[in-house]
């Protein structure tokens, strides 16, 4: 299966996720929204798996391929949050955000070919990128909650419960970016000779990490303001976006050895 089939699988998945999200909003019992979301994930992952086998390499090299995984992991994060915390709107949020990244991939498709440069031929390649994309999705869900909170602060009845949910997401997400970053460090030692070279991508990964550490530590104080906490999450997520793709547009980008798109 090649990239040309993406459109059909993506639309199928979005319809299933959308149906699940709509039913969740309408107070359906959890089971049906969960099954629909899961079905969408199966459809989407089937495409990733077949793309993987047709490219004969993990589809994780280009920006478009990382967006593919991000679109997949967002509903995963949404589903886990929905099942654990019971917020009905989270599935709609993750579906919409996932659809945005899917449409970027449909409208501005990357060139996908079998080429995998020697630096990427490592057992660390797949876990490093997949765990990063998973953490980006979890932290994306946390950001959606932060936006929801900042917009509707006065209408939220149980604020501390929402903060607790956000804490849980950020802890899980930060744990995963830590794992991704350190796997990257060990891989960099094997591939480039040093575990940390302050390559622009690494620098922004460190900045993102500091951003989430700020949230975690700020929340330690009982007196901390919920609003400031949520604003910190927004800032951290902006840093994350710079690290993921924004870095390509910065003046420092020409020095980066983290560019594999073409």
């Amino acid at each position: 299966m090649t990239w040309d089939a993406f459109f059909y699988f993506a639309i199928g998945a979005i319809l299933l996720w959308g149906a699940g999200a709509a039913l969740a909003l309408k107070h359906y019992a959890k089971r049906l929204p969960a099954i629909l979301t899961l079905a969408g994930l199966v459809v989407f992952f089937f495409f990733i798996a077949t793309l993987w086998s047709s490219l004969e390499r993990p589809p994780l090299r280009t920006m478009g391929e990382t967006r593919l995984w991000y679109s997949f992991f967002l509903p995963v994060a949404g589903l886990l949050t929905y099942l654990r915390w019971n917020y009905r709107w989270i599935l709609s949020f993750t579906t919409i955000l996932s659809a945005v990244f899917i449409f970027v991939n449909i409208l501005k498709p990357d060139i996908h070919n079998k080429v995998l440069m020697p630096a990427l031929q490592s057992p660390w390649f797949a876990p490093h990128v997949i765990i990063y994309m998973f953490s980006y999705a979890i932290l994306g869900a946390a950001t959606l909650i932060a936006i929801y909170y900042l917009v509707r602060e006065n209408r939220i009845s149980d604020k501390s419960r929402m903060m607790l949910m956000t804490d849980n997401l950020v802890y899980a997400g930060t744990a995963c970016i830590t794992l991704g970053m350190l796997m990257g460090a060990i891989w960099a030692k094997e591939a480039w000779g040093h575990y940390w070279s302050w390559d622009p991508k690494e620098t922004w990964a460190a900045a993102t990490w500091i951003g989430y550490l700020l949230y975690i530590h700020y929340r330690m104080k009982r007196s901390s303001s919920h609003r400031t906490s949520m604003l910190l999450l927004l800032i951290a997520f902006i840093l994350l976006q710079i690290c993921w793709y924004g870095v390509n547009y910065l003046p420092s980008a020409k020095q980066s050895i983290h560019t594999y798109s073409t």
Binding site: P109, I111, N113, K114, V115, L116, M117, P118, A119, Q121, S122, S160, L164, D167, N168, Y171, A172, T174, A175, C176, T178, L179, L182, A185, I186, K189, E190, A191, W192, G193, H194, Y195, W196, W198, P200, T203, W204, A206, A207, I210, G211, L213, L214, H217, Y218, R219, M220, K221, R222, S223, S225, L239, I242, V247, L250, P251, S252, K254, Q255
Partner: protein, 423 residues
């Protein structure tokens, strides 16, 4: 906030003092930077870095033991000091991530003579403000960890120690160890033995080991075909350039609206070309190029065009097939799939070791790690020269200890989640 009735510098301290402290450290760094210039890592090479490390650890321990109960030390080992330090470190990291950095080897007078240059922003990681703030963060991190040892220990503290002590060890090891790290390159010809290497300033350095290059191999991906604008060489369609990777004779593909049929393929060919005529014949010898004979047609084109396309080699020119005045079929340089060096490594102790070195598979010999770095670009797949990078980092074990603790700490964080609060 909660200390609104409190005057600044009045105990207990909060975020305000934290920011003032961190900014003061940053300013001290700027003054040092302006007066003494960039930090020269070589000045901190062993044993200086070990002495600094020992003094630093002793100092932290002494402060903890002698003044651990003092309110300032308690403040310094808490969130109010941590957050401002992290904020400033974040700001410097963002500058570091925005401004293109100059490599360590560049001479001072090559740096742009502006304010950024004087502040050390073109080489942030060896600038005083950055390094001082890192050490300030380490002080906080160290004191926080020590303070926790004085409390009643709970199972959750495992995660705390793994994360905080792990980061402390990795950061301190990385900071101090960077002065002892040696990176050199060594270029070896097939059949030759080499022990002289070059550092980033181009100085020659003799090593205690020698590398003999027994053979060097490059494997390439199959050749690709593209449609280009003849004048500019731009690949078409401009919005999303397409390419076709060779996949056997007789196949047909659509490229930028053209139907391209693969008629014949020569993996080893000699290409002769003048302004009007291209001839391609099989040739089994070094320097041979790959060539593909294609037939190109398009609705509206009077008759199909047929001819050879090749990306050439160091011996032969590349050759495109012109379809009309504007459009040609071309074969770009093939992408490298894999390159590897079969080597025999000799050490001064008289040990001999045979191994294959390739990208992502370095060889570890004594205190050196040997990496496949590059090869002779001009000769491409016929390169008989392999370029290695050799790296020595005596502090790697320290840093890896910290990294492994942090990895375990991250797993702990993922499973345990945030501390349950009593509401």
């Amino acid at each position: 906030m909660e200390h609104s009735s409190r005057k600044i510098w009045e105990q207990p301290w909060g975020y305000t003092e934290g920011f003032l402290f961190a900014i003061a450290i940053g300013l001290a760094g700027i003054i040092l930077q302006l007066s003494t210039g960039q930090i020269e890592p070589v000045l901190f090479a062993f044993p200086v870095n070990s002495i600094i490390g020992a003094l630093f650890l002793t100092g932290l321990l002494a402060v903890h033991l002698l003044a651990g109960k003092k309110s300032m030390v308690r403040w310094l080992s808490g969130v109010y000091a941590t957050i401002p330090a992290l904020v400033l470190l974040l700001v410097l990291s963002m500058i570091l991530g925005l401004i293109p950095q100059q490599p360590q080897g560049t001479a001072k007078d090559l740096l742009p003579p502006n304010l950024f240059g004087r502040l050390g922003w073109y080489r942030m990681t060896t600038s005083w403000p950055f390094v001082l703030l890192c050490f300030y963060t380490l002080v906080i991190l160290g004191l926080t960890t020590l303070r926790r040892t004085a409390q009643k220990q709970r199972w959750r503290d495992i995660g705390f120690y793994l994360n905080h002590l792990g980061l402390f060890i990795a950061l301190l090891g990385g900071l101090l160890g960077s002065a002892d790290m040696v990176r050199v390159t060594m270029s070896v010809q097939e059949g030759a033995v080499e022990w002289r290497s070059n550092n980033s300033s181009g100085e020659t350095m003799e090593l205690s080991l020698a590398i003999q290059l027994d053979s060097f191999l490059i494997e390439e991906y199959p050749p690709k075909l593209v449609i280009i604008e003849h004048e500019t060489g731009k690949m078409l369609p401009a919005s999303r350039p397409g390419s076709y990777m060779f996949d056997g004779v007789g196949k047909t593909t659509q490229l930028a609206g053209y139907r391209v049929e693969i008629i014949e393929y020569l993996p080893h060919a000699a290409v002769f070309r003048d302004s009007s005529f291209t001839n391609v014949v099989p040739m089994m010898m070094e320097g041979a190029a790959e060539a593909i004979r294609v037939k190109v047609s398009k609705p509206g084109l009077s008759q199909p065009k047929e001819g050879w396309v090749s990306n050439g080699s160091y011996l032969f020119p590349h050759s495109v097939l012109q379809i009309d005045d504007a459009i040609s079929v071309a074969m770009p340089q093939q992408e490298v799939k894999r390159y590897s060096s079969h080597v025999t490594v000799y050490t001064e102790e008289g040990t001999t070791r045979q191994a294959v070195i390739e990208v992502n598979k370095p060889l570890s010999v004594e205190e050196w790690m040997i990496y496949q770095y590059s090869y002779d670009d001009a000769k491409g797949k016929y390169s008989d020269t392999s370029l290695f990078e050799l790296v020595r980092d005596p502090w790697l074990k320290v840093v890896y200890t910290g990294i492994i603790m942090l990895l375990a700490g991250a797993l702990f964080l993922f499973i345990a989640g945030p501390k349950k609060r009593r509401s």
